[in-house]
Symmetry: D2
Subunit: 346 residues, 4 copies
C-alpha cells in the first residue's frame, strides 16, 4: 500500500474546492492538510459544506498560513492563479489548478475568448491539460496539471473519438451544453437568485463561450466547434448534444467502432445507447455525484446527421473528479481510487 | 361604469410591488400612474418584471418625484413606511401598505415579535387590517389599509370559522406553514442562492415567526396559535396545516357547517375536500397566480384531532391580490374585479 | 358586442383539451356547451382540472351525446380525428383539431414521419394550418383549422422571418427544442413517473421528431431544418435554439429589420434581446400561461453564426392559445380576446 | 478480514430493492448473488437502475429460481412477505424484510392501521425491529430483521431521546413529515405523474398514516404521537418536524444532554443546531444518498414549545441503508461498512 500524500486546497469555500475536499477526504491515499478561505478563517469547513459534518474537523486557514505539502490544489477566481503563481509555486512539487488560467497553449485563442493578453505566457508550457482520456501519458509525469473546464470536458469526450478517427464530414459542429446552477459558483447573484432561476431555461451564452477555446485546441485538426450554452435549473450536471454529419461512406457500426477503439479501456466512460427502457441516452441525473461521462449518439439514416450526446456531473467529472483522476494517473495509483461512487437512482 | 382611479406604487422593483403592478395593469378601473425605485430610475419596469414586456411603457421614477394620485401603495422594507409616513400621507386620500408596519394594534405583541417599540403608535388606529373575509365592513370606509401577511392569511383563513364558531377544544393550535422562495424578496442572498436553496426543505423559522402576532390578534379570543415555518423550493405558494382538536360533542358535519356559515358567500374561498382524485386537499400549485384560498380539513374520528389545510399564492392572496380585493371593497367595485385568473393546470 | 358562440370539446380530460376549456371559459364571446370524456362521464370537469373549481359546473359527457354547436374542438389521440371525422363533421360549421392529423399537405412527409399512409388524404385540402402569423388571411375564412404542433410553433416563429426574407446561408439549420413534461399528456407512464423524470435532462428524440415535417412544410423554400428534442423537467414551456449562418453580406441590423418587417404588428410576438439584466433572451418561465412567443437571437460576428432563440408555453401558444387566436381571426373578433394573461414573475 | 457473505434480493426492480442492491454492490463484505423480478427476467438490473451500468452484470431472475444464500432480503409489496413466508424461510439463515409485514408486535395496532387482521401473527415474535439506535443489542443475534418504515425512522430518531429521558410534558405530540416522491415506489400512477406532482405540496395523508403504529409501539411509554404526511416534489428525503412541550422545569441544556446521552456514540446521527450560516437545522438535501439522520431542535422560551427537526434520505437511512446498518450489527462488522458516502453539496 502506498503511503498517504498530503494535499492542501487554496480557495476551499467555493463549490469546486469543496468538491475536491469531499473527494480528497474519502480518498484512501490522500490526507487533507489545509484548506484556505480568506473570508472564513477559523470557521469549520462544514459550515459551508454541510455534507462534511462529522467527516472532518478541519477549519479554514488564511492563505498566508499555507505550509508545504505534497500536492497543492488551486481553486481561485479566474486570473488569480496566473497572477499570484509565485506565491504557491514553491509550496508543493505537484500543483493542480482548477481555473482556466493554464489550460490553453494558443495565446491568440486566449486573447480572443478571455479578452486580454495572457498575464504569464512563460508559464504555459509546463502545464498539462488535465484530461486523462486525451493526455494520460503526459499526465504520468506532469507536475503542473491544468484541470479542464466542465463544458469542455462534456464536449471533448463526446466528440474526440469521432474527430480522431476522421469520421465526420468537414464543416461546423454545433454543440449545445445544457448546464446547471452550481457552475456559476457559490457567490449569490441576481442570475442565481432562486425565484429568478428556478424553472428557468435560459440561453445564457448563445455565442462566445470561453470553453470553446479549450474544445478547439484539444480536438485533432481543430475543427470548427460552435458552442451554445443554455442554463437549466439543475444544481449539478451537463447534458451536451452535438450536431454534425457522418461521412457518407460510413454507418452506425463505424461510429461504434471508433468509440470502442478509443474508449474501450476507459474506466469512467460508459457508452449509453439502449433500444428499450427510459434511460436510453446519457442523462446528467444518472451520473450525479459520479466521475462518469456517459456518451451516446443517434444517426439519422437518410441525412447522415449525427447527434452526439454526453452527460457529466460538472463538479465531479467536470472539475474535481477529473482532477482526482488526473492526480491518480500522476501518482501511479489505480485510476478509480476515491472515485467509486455509483450515483443514485432515482 | 365607474371612472378609472389613478394608483402609484412606492417600491415597485420588488416582488410584492411588482405583483401589485401586474394586477393593477390588468384592472379595468385602475390606471397606474407612477412606480418608484431608487436604484432603477429611468429603467423600464419590464426590465425587472419581464412578464410586463409589451404591457406597459412605464419607467421607474425616483420617490422624490411622486405626484398626487387617488390611491398610493407602499411596498417598502420593514419599518420604512412607519418612519417615513409623513412623506406619503398627503399624496393620496387612500393608502395601502403592504408591509407589516401598521398591521398590529397590540403594542406588546409588536415589541415581542419585532424586537423594538413601535415607532409610530399614534398612527395605528387609523389602519384597517386588509383582510376582507374578516373585516369587510370596516374596509368599506377605510382610507388606510394595512395589508396582511402571507403566512397570516393562510393560517387565519384556515382557522377563522372554527375559532369564531367555537368548535375547537381550548389549548394550543400547531400551525405549520410550508412557504416559498419569493417570500424572501427580490434581493439575492446566500439563503436564496439557487444551488443552496433548490431541493431544500428548510426549517427556517421553527419558532418566533412574526406573523404569529397577526394571527393571534385577529382570531376571536386570541387562541394560542404556534407557528412553524418551513421553506420549500417552490417559487410561489404556501401550504398551511394546523393541528388541533375538535370538541368531543361535534362531528365532521359541524365543521362543514361552520365553514359554510362563515364562508358561504366568499368569492375567493373554495372548500376542497374530495373523496376521489389526486387533488383532494388544497395545494398551492393549484392556486398559483390566483386570489383563491383553498381550505380543507380532515378529522381523525377516534381522537378528535382536526387537521386544517389551506393553500394560497403568497404574492396574490397573500399580498397583492388581497390588497386589490380590499381596495375593491373600499371603492365599492365588484370584489373580484381584476382578480379573475383561474390558475393553470398542470 | 358580438353574440356568444357555443363551443364543445371532444376529449376534454387531457391537458390540451383542458387548456382550451380554461381559455374558453374566460373568453367573453364563447360559451362552453359540452366537454366529453369516455372515462369520466358524469364527473365534474374540475375533478381533473382543479384550477376550474368554482369556475364551472360542467360535467363530462359521453361523446355519443354530443349536440350541435357553433364550434367544435377535437382533442383526441393521434389518428382518431382522421379516422372518425364523419362522426363530428356534421355537428358544427367550424371545427378545430388539436391533433396532428390534418396539419400536413405533403403525403410523403406524413408517411415518412408518421410511419403510415394518411388515412384520409381526401380531407386534407379543406384544412388551414392554425398559425395566424403565417396564415392569417387564409384563417379568416377557414372552417377547418388544423392547430399546429407546439415544437413546430416555437421553431417556425423563430425562423420564419429569416427564411422568408432570405437572410440565411443555404444549408442545414439545427434546431434544438427543450421541452416540458406536459407535452407527453395526462396519461401516467414510466417516462413521466416523477422520480424518473424530476431533474432529468433527457435527449428523448435526437432525430426523427414528427414536428420536423410541419416545420419544413411551412417554411418558404422548405429548408433542411433538423430537430433535436430534449426533455427537461419543466411542466410547461419550450425553449428553442436554432443554429445557422447569416449571409456574409448582412449584419445584425438586417436581422432586426426582417423581424420588424414580418412581426411588427403581431400582437403575441415580442422581440427579446436586451443589453442588461438577467432576462436578456426569451425564457419559457416568463411566458408561462400566456400566448406570447418571445423571440431573440445572437450573432457571432467573426463566423456569421446566428443563434435564434424562442420561448413559448407549449399548452398555450403551442396548443390551445394558438387555437383560440386562430378562432378569433376566423370569427373576426379582436385577436387577443381571451388571451390577455400577462404571465407571472417570479 | 471477514469472508464475504452472499446476499440475494427478492423484488429488486423497485426503488427499495434497487437501493439495497446499490449499497450491497459497494459493500466489501457482501457479494450479491441473485436479484429477482417477475416482470424483468433476463434483463440486466442496470436497465431499471441506470446508475449501476458498468458496476454489475447481474440480470434479473425469476423468484422461482432462487438459490440458497447467506442473507436474503425481501422487498415486496405490502402483505406478500407474510403470506408467502414459507417460500423464502428456508433459503437463508438470515432474512431481512423491507416491508411493513413484521414490524409490529401489537396486533390491535396492526388491525387499526392496516385494516385487517395480521395474516401470520405466529411469526411476529421472531422478528427484531431493524433500528440499531433503539435495538442494537437485540439485532446482534437477530436472524429475522423487520426493517423500519422511512417516516417512522425520521420521527422515532427525532423523538426517542426526549421520550426515553422523560423530558416532555404528557400530551399529544404533533409530527409532520414532509416526504418525497420515491416513497410511493417505482410503479407509475396519476399521483406521481410528473405534470401533476412537480411543484406540488400535497397533504396526502393528514390522518391515519400507517407509520403512526410503528412510532407509537417503539417509543417508551407509547405517547400519543400524531402524524401528518405532506408530499413534496423532492425525489428523496424526509423532513420531520414534531411539536410538543418541554417540561417546565427543564431548559435547552437538558435537551442537549438527553440527545448527547442517548446518541453520543451513534455513528449515523448528527446533531445540527448552528447559530450561523444557512444550514442551521437538518435538511434532507444535505443527507441525500447518505445513511445519516440529522437531528436538531428549537425551544420557544416563553411557552416551552419544543420543535424537533430531523432529516433523512428515505431510501437510505429510511430503508436500505438502515437495513445494511442492521445487518452490519448482526454480522459483527463495523457498523459503517458500505455506508461511507458523505453526501453532496450543493
Amino acid at each position: 500500500m502506498s503511503e498517504k500524500k498530503t494535499v492542501s486546497i487554496v480557495g476551499g469555500s467555493g463549490y469546486a474546492g469543496g468538491e475536491f475536499l469531499r473527494l480528497a477526504l474519502g480518498h484512501p491515499l490522500l490526507e487533507v492538510k489545509q484548506v484556505t478561505s480568506r473570508r472564513m478563517v477559523g470557521d469549520p469547513v462544514s459550515l459551508v459544506h454541510p455534507n462534511l459534518r462529522g467527516r472532518t474537523n478541519l477549519k479554514f486557514v488564511d492563505p498566508a498560513g499555507l505550509e508545504p505539502c505534497d500536492i497543492l490544489v488551486l481553486s481561485m477566481p479566474h486570473g488569480v492563479a496566473a497572477r499570484e503563481f509565485e506565491k504557491y509555486a514553491g509550496l508543493a512539487p505537484i500543483i493542480l489548478d482548477l481555473s482556466a488560467d493554464f489550460r490553453l497553449k494558443d495565446l491568440g485563442l486566449y486573447k480572443k475568448y478571455y479578452g486580454e493578453d495572457h498575464p504569464r505566457p512563460d508559464l504555459l508550457n509546463r502545464w498539462v491539460y488535465g484530461n486523462p482520456e486525451l493526455y494520460r501519458e503526459a499526465l504520468k509525469t506532469a507536475n503542473h496539471i491544468a484541470c479542464c473546464g466542465c463544458n469542455a470536458t462534456a464536449t471533448l469526450l463526446g466528440l474526440y473519438p469521432l474527430v480522431k478517427e476522421g469520421l465526420l464530414v468537414d464543416g461546423p459542429i454545433f454543440a449545445t451544453v445544457m448546464i446547471s446552477t452550481s457552475a456559476a459558483g457559490a457567490e449569490p447573484s441576481l442570475a442565481s437568485h432562486h425565484p429568478e432561476r428556478a424553472g428557468s431555461i435560459r440561453a445564457y451564452k448563445p455565442t462566445g463561450h470561453r470553453h470553446t477555446a479549450e474544445i478547439r485546441e484539444n480536438l485533432p485538426g481543430h475543427p470548427q466547434v460552435h458552442l451554445t450554452a443554455v442554463a437549466t435549473d439543475r444544481v449539478r450536471g451537463i447534458l451536451m448534444t452535438a450536431q454534425t454529419f457522418l461521412r457518407a461512406d460510413l454507418t452506425e457500426k463505424d461510429v461504434w467502432s471508433a468509440y470502442r477503439k478509443v474508449y474501450g479501456a476507459e474506466p469512467f466512460i460508459r457508452m449509453v445507447k439502449l433500444k428499450k427502457g427510459i434511460h436510453r441516452y446519457p442523462d446528467p441525473g444518472v451520473v450525479e455525484g459520479t466521475n462518469y461521462c456517459d456518451v451516446g449518439f443517434e444517426l439519422e439514416e437518410d441525412t447522415g446527421r449525427l447527434v452526439v450526446i454526453s452527460a457529466i456531473d460538472n463538479l465531479v467529472k467536470g472539475t474535481a473528479g477529473h482532477a482526482i483522476q488526473s492526480l491518480n494517473v500522476r501518482m501511479g495509483w489505480p485510476e478509480t481510487t476515491g472515485l467509486e461512487f455509483a450515483g443514485l437512482h432515482p
